[in-house]
Amino acid sequence: MTASGSGQAPPPKKVIPDPVFNEKNGRLLKDTRYWPTEVWANPWASPAYRRGAMLLIGIIGAIFATGWMIGELAPLGDTLYQLIASVASAGGLPQTATEATWIMIKALIILHVVLINGLWAVWWERKISAHIQSRVGPTYAGGFHGWAQTILDGIKLLLKEDITPAVADKWVHALAPAIVVVPVIIAFAPVSFGSQLAAADIDVGVLYIFAFAGISVIGVVMGGWASGNKYSLLGGLRATAQLVSYELPRGFSVVPVIMFSGSLDLSVIAHAQAGYWLGFIPKWFIFYPLVGQLAFIIFLIASVAETNRTPFDIPEAESELVSGFHTEYSGMKWSMFFLTEYGYVLLACFLLATFFLGGGAAPLPGLEIIPSWIWMLGKAMAMMFVFLWVRWTFPRFRADQLMDFNWKFLLPWSFANIAFAAAALLYLS
């Protein structure tokens, strides 16, 4: 500590400009009073901002690389299948043994899609929510922008005590997370990750996905009931009301897409959107005038509601019910609920990309060199960004507003949309 002389000159006072108001209506145009405007004046001067830009490039590159890896590893599946078949025939096993092993391997891959998506999406959500709120999010774990944060959180959750409340119905309480998480893994079976890349080619894929996605609500209600807690019970009841209601516009908004493509098979729906109008507008369903946009918006809103995310998170409303149906869960049981939430987000993203954004089709004629799995993953991730963006922008609906919005707005408009699509099919084709 160096001794300082007396009578130092005071540091120069910062000149803070006055806020700018609109003369006529008095609305605030430029707020200068409380914000550290000098931080924002020249963002590129700060090394942290340049690192953030590098992170963005890194994320896009990682999506690209992951898509490329999926495409490169997909042909290995055929080799693996041949190998299993040859081993089975050498051992004198029947054909069903080969098929069973192959299905188990595919199920394992799909399971890991859900798990790895959990790791990735939690980290991404934390980063995006942080930057929307001018924070930085996880920074230290792993060294580079806190990439290992979710892994460490997962280890922490594994080590946490698994608490079952004394008044809980123990069996139902333990079964609820399983009932919640299993349908999301099953529902991923017909999702196509690119052209010719689906675990199961099911002709009624859309119906299958919606049917299985609807089962999870039973687990939510079970969790809410079995916790022996009024908040949990209320959360479970709200979840039932919300999820069952929003199933309807979600299903009906896809009907125009099915009418135009003439199939419930996801790969056929994606394939129906290949080609371009006027040589450069892709024939995606989102670009069908009026019908496509309406269906897209209704499906997006209903998907956000189905995943219990913020504008529609009345089942786990933090300020009203402590955290709703998973108040009494801890450790891995709790993280099962979260895994399910992010699994459904990914499912909804892939469905949005398949139904409305052309699946693996390139957005411009010259871009077909980039393979379809990269486009598919990129579109799904863009949709996931929209999910997170919506989540961190809007406040929560009130329970009655939520029901009003569904039954008085989304459902009538999805019916009207089916009528528009039918009229277009009848008179324009």
Binding site: T2, S6, Q8, W40, R135
Partner: protein
């Protein structure tokens, strides 16, 4: 009918405006200070840890009287020849366990520059209870020392990190 569509479009436009604002803030640099590695310097009137200058102090006891939580103690120095009190401090101590950072001691201090004043250090951290009582004598620098009861010596405070090297004094 027109009113219905107007409501729908105003609502949708409001939602889009909200999303535009969050997107704008997403790409703005964050204002977070990464605390242990980056540190903000507080404003001029911030009341941080107290510092003391034994050379300036005239041992007038005003700060001891002004202190509402009675955390300051001092003793006059005496002239060794005449055995009379002189306007110098022999030792001076502030108990940070009691101090409520009110600046009354600095306000009453009659010397110019002030003999006791608030620095801008907000990291007033103590590893042991002994460190809470800071002592000053002639020759000890502004941040002071504490009496380590185990080792029976004066030691520099370990917990407190100095953010600013030079502190402004009025």
């Amino acid at each position: 009918m027109i009113a219905y569509f107007r409501t729908v479009f105003t609502a949708a436009w409001a939602l889009l405006q909200g999303m535009a604002i969050t997107l704008k803030y997403l790409f703005k640099p964050s204002i977070t200070i990464h605390y242990p590695t980056e540190k903000l310097v507080p404003y001029e009137k911030f009341r941080g840890a107290l510092l003391f200058d034994a050379e300036t102090c005239i041992s007038c006891n005003l700060c001891v009287k002004a202190c509402p939580s009675a955390c300051i103690q001092l003793e006059n120095a005496t002239n060794p020849q005449t055995k009379k009190k002189i306007a110098k401090v022999d030792w001076y101590s502030i108990d940070f366990g009691k101090c409520n950072f009110c600046r009354l001691c600095e306000e009453v201090c009659p010397t110019k520059p002030k003999a006791v004043w608030h620095s801008l250090d907000y990291e007033v951290v103590f590893y042991t209870r002994d460190e809470m009582v800071r002592c000053w004598k002639a020759g000890i620098n502004y941040i002071g020392k504490y009496w380590n009861r185990k080792e029976k010596i004066f030691k520099d405070p370990e917990g407190q990190i100095s953010i600013q090297e030079v502190h402004s004094r009025r």
